[in-house]
């Protein structure tokens, strides 16, 4: 009886610690979403914080239930999140570059000038062709 109760208390404690750490990561990510000055900085700093927070919360859930079906569902959600978050971030930032969302004024852009120039030139060529 005592052994059973003790293991239940241990599971609750570990699970709540995981959930509190995950919620703290998510809160910090949301504050960063409000504070940072530029779209690219927000994108590269924020989305991954929320991914780690979500993973910790779901791990706490799996530890608390301790059931194989729940373990399978939790592993499915975690692996799906870790696979899709970088793809979504990459597609969004590529779209933002092609839409000419401006960079922060302190960003070092020396390596990127040739790419930007080429993009603008190709756009100008497309415009000329459309005008003809």
């Amino acid at each position: 009886m005592l052994n059973n109760l003790d293991s239940f208390l241990l599971k609750e404690t570990i699970s709540s610690v995981f959930i509190l750490v995950g919620v703290a990561f998510m809160l910090i990510a949301t504050i960063g979403l409000l504070r940072f000055p530029d779209f690219y900085i927000r994108m590269s700093a924020i989305t991954k914080g929320s991914t780690l927070g979500l993973g910790l919360i779901l791990a706490g859930l799996g530890i608390y239930f301790d059931h194989p079906a729940m373990l399978l569902k939790v592993v499915a959600i975690i692996s799906f999140t870790f696979m899709t978050a970088p793809v979504a971030a990459h597609v969004l930032s590529r779209t933002a570059v092609q839409n000419k969302i401006p960079f922060w004024n302190k960003t070092n852009l020396t390596d990127f000038q040739s790419y930007l120039k080429k993009e603008h030139r190709s756009e100008k060529k497309v415009d000329e062709e459309r005008a003809k």
Binding site: E12, G22, V23, T30, L33, V91, L92, N99, I101
Partner: protein, 89 residues
């Protein structure tokens, strides 16, 4: 009302504050990609709330909602980005 459920209710309250802050960024975001990234974080927060609610009630059926929501959040942000890329061509 033991210490464990109090901890979970505090966590749900913190995530609700996160939802309000994300909605502020959604409202003031200067461009459309800002709003899409805010939407992404919004979906992640809602998945977290559903997970903690599952643990609070002890009913294991709610986690299916989180699976479907994670799938639809990814599809939503991808299709918004695709629409934006099509519009400038």
């Amino acid at each position: 009302m033991n210490l464990f459920s109090v901890t979970l209710i505090i966590a749900i309250g913190t995530l609700s504050i996160c939802l309000v802050l994300t909605a502020i960024r959604f409202a003031i975001g200067p461009t459309l990609p800002d709003r899409i990234s805010a939407f992404d974080l919004f979906v992640a927060n809602v998945i977290g709330i559903i997970a903690i609610y599952t643990e609070l009630t002890g009913n294991a059926d709610f986690i299916d909602v989180a699976i479907i929501l994670s799938l639809f959040g990814f599809l939503g942000s991808i299709s918004f980005a695709y629409f934006l890329m099509k519009r400038i061509r």
